[in-house]
Amino acid sequence: MSDGLVVEGVESFYGDFKALHGVSLALEPGKVLALIGANGAGKSTLLKSICGLVSPKAGRVTWRGRDITGLGGAQTVALGIALVPEGRRLFKSLSVEENLILGGQIGRSGPWGLQRLYDLFPILQEKRHQPATSLSGGQQQMVAIGRALMSNPDLVLFDELSLGLAPIVIKDIYAQLPKITGQGMSAILVEQDVTRALNAANQFLCLVEGRVSLSGKPQDHSRDAISAAYFGT
């Protein structure tokens, strides 16, 4: 029995398309997992299967020893799993602060609150009354991260953290990542930039067409081996 996340043989569909063919992984508390793979490999579907936006057709998701397979998103967030979705998906008719408040409204206690977030991302305090989608891409990503942190999660799923952001902004956000994950919080990181993801992670999992092609610790595998696993060659 693990007190982290255990995924066993999960099969999920994206519409009529079978996106995951029996994926398994295990993640200990406080660890960061880099989830890599080409477009359409099933990374987002795996994250959604964990946080309850997709209900797996087979297999099991266990979180802190509890079977959470098929629970809805409203329930998994109450159990401490938060998602920073691909494309950020901020609520466009809500202000920055309202987006953050909504993130915290399930009322889990923990270190994160509005003030702590504003200390982490001071620009958000300055712009807190603006419509969330009027911010720059990088600032919007900060709101999306903040919104997830406000629920005081024990596991954060970051989907395409740097997609569409300027390199300097990406560097900034990654510089903050240890502050976020340094408190015993685990994370799964989906990222196009494989090198950056592997540097930030303790372990990795590579998906090809919905199947695990390679997994382990970054330092145990050569870059060539990981690259071969990525392209499925």
């Binding site: 936006l53 998103g73 466009k92 809500l94 909504l102």
Partner: protein, 287 residues
């Protein structure tokens, strides 16, 4: 002077039309649902009020204390039990199910209450008026308009300043992600429908005090509310009030020319605005 009087009466009646429209606007904003049975629910509220008054002897406006919660609870149950199952992107199911609901409500009311037209008696309120400078303002129309303004102000406040309104807006923006904030969309939608039918209850009681009603009046009220929403611009509650006023004034002017043209003049005003400004007079900017 006559013309000013006609316009003034039209403005005040516009308040009632805004009450018909406000709930329609709210649920469209939250869940993109157009409820064909909306008008029939207004009529249902009028009959419930009639029964409450018969059993309790309360004056109509006081009876709202019972009618509003009863209708709101009905709305919550209706959304959870039936309408939530129709939502999911496709246009047909919600439209056709609410159309079926409309026929059921009309014939259900007919079976229970017969086709006789009824009216609620509000006593002296109906005839009292204040006049100045040749203009006469009935107390009832004035109260109706003031109620419409108050209801829309309250909805506006709820929508933009409260946690419930935040939940409505977030679910409307992105229901899937809202779920990850702990917002169960089925419950959020049910609350929206409860609120909508609370407003419908107020509209139904005013309708029943102002004029005769029968089981088949619903579709006409739906159309007035719909026209007010489109004239004012989708998603703009104050615009909806303006839409109701324009509709009321157009009907008043039409009736002044020929009583048979009253309703027609309202429809023509609606079609003109649709032709000139298809998004309504005051469309919401971000829509």
């Amino acid at each position: 002077m006559d013309l000013i009087n006609i316009i003034l009466q039209g403005v005040l009646v516009g308040g009632l039309y805004a009450l018909f429209a406000a709930g329609l606007s709210l649920i469209f904003g939250v869940m993109r649902l157009v409820n064909i049975a909306h008008g029939d629910l207004i009529v249902l509220a009028a009959y419930i009020a009639m029964e409450v008054i018969r059993l309790s002897g309360l004056p109509p406006l006081v009876a709202l204390i019972f009618v509003v919660p009863v209708m709101a609870a009905f709305g919550y149950a209706l959304q959870r039990g039936i309408l939530n199952r129709t939502l999911g992107g496709d246009l047909l199911p919600p439209l056709l199910v609410s159309f079926g609901l409309s026929v059921i409500l009309q014939n259900g009311l007919l079976a229970v209450f017969t086709a006789d037209s009824r009216k609620l008696d509000a006593g002296v309120l109906e005839t009292a008026s204040v006049s100045f400078g040749g203009l006469s303002i009935g107390l009832l129309p004035a109260l109706m308009f003031a109620t419409a303004v108050a209801v829309i102000a309250a909805l506006q406040f709820m929508f933009y300043k409260t946690a419930l309104g935040r939940a409505f807006r977030a679910t409307s923006d992105d229901a899937e992600i809202a779920e990850l904030m702990g917002l169960d969309r089925r419950r959020v939608y049910a609350w929206a429908m409860a609120l909508c039918l609370g407003v419908v209850a107020i509209a139904g009681v005013f309708l029943a005090i102002r004029s005769n009603f029968d089981p088949f009046m619903g579709p006409g009220r739906l159309i007035f509310g719909f026209e007010a929403v489109i004239i004012g611009g989708l998603g703009n509650l104050w615009g909806t009030l303006a839409g109701g006023v324009i509709l009321g004034v157009a009907q008043g002017l039409g009736a002044a020319i020929d009583p048979g043209w009253q309703i027609l003049a309202g429809h023509v005003a609606f079609l003109l605005i649709l032709a000139i400004k298809p998004r309504g007079l005051f469309p919401r900017m971000d829509g």
